[in-house]
């Protein structure tokens, strides 16, 4: 059991370190937004799932010791021997109990906080939807309400029934074709229950603000969900109608406040203007699918690996130490009542202690090989993903009319990111265009 816990924790630690940059690189292009969402969600899901499994196992471990006082007695007996030889005392038992209590309390607090956050968001959204329906004017379509406002905006809010809100300024700015595309985008959000995904991730991010996998996942998933909705709307209407709607609303929005969503909008516009090629989509999909498969298999491999070690290495050590059946017969009866792997471990631990020089060495050896094994697996994944990504990105760089458009695009992106200021941007753009003009005239 303990080995499974160690395996799961190793897995989640590996994911926390390796997943955010890797997934960011793989889903950033938005070539396969839906699969990208699935990838982020399975990364976060397996990590959170392994935490839940870990805490459940720790609690079960302690409870099983409580309900079988004899095993507690036996392990106490074993520890007593060690206490005599100046090792650990009864303290480990108390420590274990304290850990279990802490885990239970922490899990309960986190669970309650998550639930209240998600339910709170749901209630707020439903209330907003209801209020908007009361205040807004009905339009020709049942799910759309128009609210008087000077700001041009369109959004949807979950509720019973949900509502798509278009402000009067937005209605005035958009023509019918654009409006239809914008509404299709919002309907795709509602049909896909995107609000549920976003609220769960937002709640997780609020509870674990320092875990970058979750906080970055939240941002990236909402970005990808916008792209998913874009794809649906572009299929139903046209990407040009949607793009012009996007531009109109950006132009009409005299907003004053924050949010660094500019890059997200830019990336969306880019996708609509130049849809990714089918070959790139296929490659990104292949890369993401393999990552999902690895992540799904990861915890299982971690568990299997650790169980395998405790079964195979345990007996192997007995053989090395020449204990054999004699040692088992000599063991006290309550100890035999334990599960075989647990029993094997308990015996081997005791014998190793008696033997002296094997003791911690073997533990370090096993843990060391586990860590090396995982390091190799992660490196393999990273290398594979990099390779697949480079495959999928190369054609984009090499094709496309002489690269002039690309240079401007790169410049525009840097400008939008705020890396260069207005003057610098204008100067560089002027230079680039001069170059193009001179090359085309000659």
């Amino acid at each position: 059991m303990i080995s499974v816990v160690v395996g799961l924790l190793l897995y989640s630690m590996a994911m926390l370190v390796a997943a955010p940059p890797l997934l960011w690189a793989m889903t950033g292009s938005g070539n396969a937004p839906r699969l990208g969402v699935v990838t982020w969600l399975s990364a976060i899901g397996t990590v959170v799932g392994s935490w839940v499994a870990t805490s459940v196992m720790v609690i079960i471990e302690v409870i099983s010791h409580w309900t079988h006082p004899r095993t507690v007695a036996a392990s106490c007996l074993a520890r007593l021997q060690r206490t005599m030889s100046g090792d650990a005392g009864i303290a480990p038992q108390i420590t274990l109990l304290a850990i279990a209590a802490a885990v239970t309390v922490a899990a309960a607090i986190i669970g309650v906080r998550l639930a209240t956050a998600v339910l709170g968001m749901r209630a707020r959204a439903h209330e907003h939807a209801r209020a908007v329906r009361l205040v807004g004017h009905r339009t020709g379509e049942a799910d759309v309400v128009m609210v008087e406002a000077a700001k041009a905006a369109a959004y949807c809010v979950a509720g019973r029934p949900p509502a798509i809100v278009v402000t009067s300024a937005a209605r005035a700015a958009l023509d019918d074709r654009q409006l239809a595309a914008v509404l299709a985008h919002e309907r795709a959000h509602l049909a896909g229950h995107h609000a549920v995904i976003v609220s769960v991730l937002r709640a997780l991010a609020a509870v674990f603000p320092r875990i970058s996998l979750i906080t970055e996942g939240e941002q990236q998933v909402s970005r990808l969900l916008e792209m998913c909705a874009d794809d649906v709307a572009a299929r139903r209407h046209s990407s040009r109608a949607l793009l012009s709607g996007l531009i109109t609303l950006c132009t009409a929005a005299p907003a004053e406040a924050l949010a660094a969503a500019d890059l997200a909008v830019l990336a969306r516009a880019e996708r609509l203007a130049r849809p990714p090629k089918e070959s790139m989509k296929v490659k990104t999909r292949a890369a993401l699918t393999s990552v999902i498969a690895i992540m799904a298999a990861g915890p299982l491999i971690a568990v299997a690996d650790c169980v395998w070690r405790s079964h195979v290495w345990g007996p192997a050590m007995h053989a090395n130490l020449n204990i054999g059946p004699a040692g088992l017969v000599a063991a006290p009866a309550p100890l035999k009542a334990l599960g075989h792997s647990e029993f094997g471990k308990a015996v081997s631990m005791m014998m190793m202690m008696d033997d002296g020089h094997w003791g911690w060495g073997s533990w370090i050896l096993t843990t060391g090989t586990t860590i090396v094994f995982w390091a190799l697996v992660i490196t393999a994944v990273v290398v594979l993903a990099r390779y697949l990504l480079s495959l999928s990105q190369r054609p984009a760089g090499t094709t496309h009319a002489g690269g002039a458009g690309n240079a401007e695009q790169v410049l525009a992106e840097r400008y939008a990111r705020g890396e260069i200021d207005d003057e610098e941007y204008q100067r560089r753009l002027g230079l680039l265009r001069q170059n193009i003009a001179s090359t085309t005239s000659t």
């Binding site: 707020r124 959204a125 406002a149 700001k151």
Partner: protein
């Protein structure tokens, strides 16, 4: 609510008056109107005052005030984290949006070519 806002806000309405008005257009039960108005009162949309056996209702805020409140909630400051909305275009700063526009215009030109 639509009905109440359309009436003169200076004169509070009774359930009976509103029911008569609505019943002229469609079949609706008196109790439906009554419970709806009671709900709106408990939610703070209507204020009421006892007048003999009936209550007289009037809106606490005008439609414009409510719209303004809701739009503030939805659009200002990128929205509060407790309210999950899917904006078509996120609200952004004036400077950023100016930059964005120029980039977008160029993109649009690119597609038209």
């Amino acid at each position: 609510m639509d009905r109440i806002w359309r009436r003169d806000s200076a004169i509070p309405t009774t359930v009976r008056e509103l029911f008569d008005e609505l019943a002229g257009e469609r079949s609706i039960a008196y109790t439906t109107v009554m419970s709806t108005m009671d709900n709106l009162h408990t939610k703070g949309w209507l204020a009421r005052e006892r007048d003999g056996k009936a209550y007289r209702y009037w809106p606490t805020l005008s439609r414009e005030q409510h719209s303004a409140r809701l739009m503030r909630e939805a659009l200002d400051g990128g929205g509060s984290p407790e309210l999950v909305l899917q904006h078509f275009v996120e609200q952004i700063g004036a400077e950023e949006s100016e930059r964005l526009r120029s980039v977008l215009r160029r993109l649009a030109k690119g597609t038209n070519q």
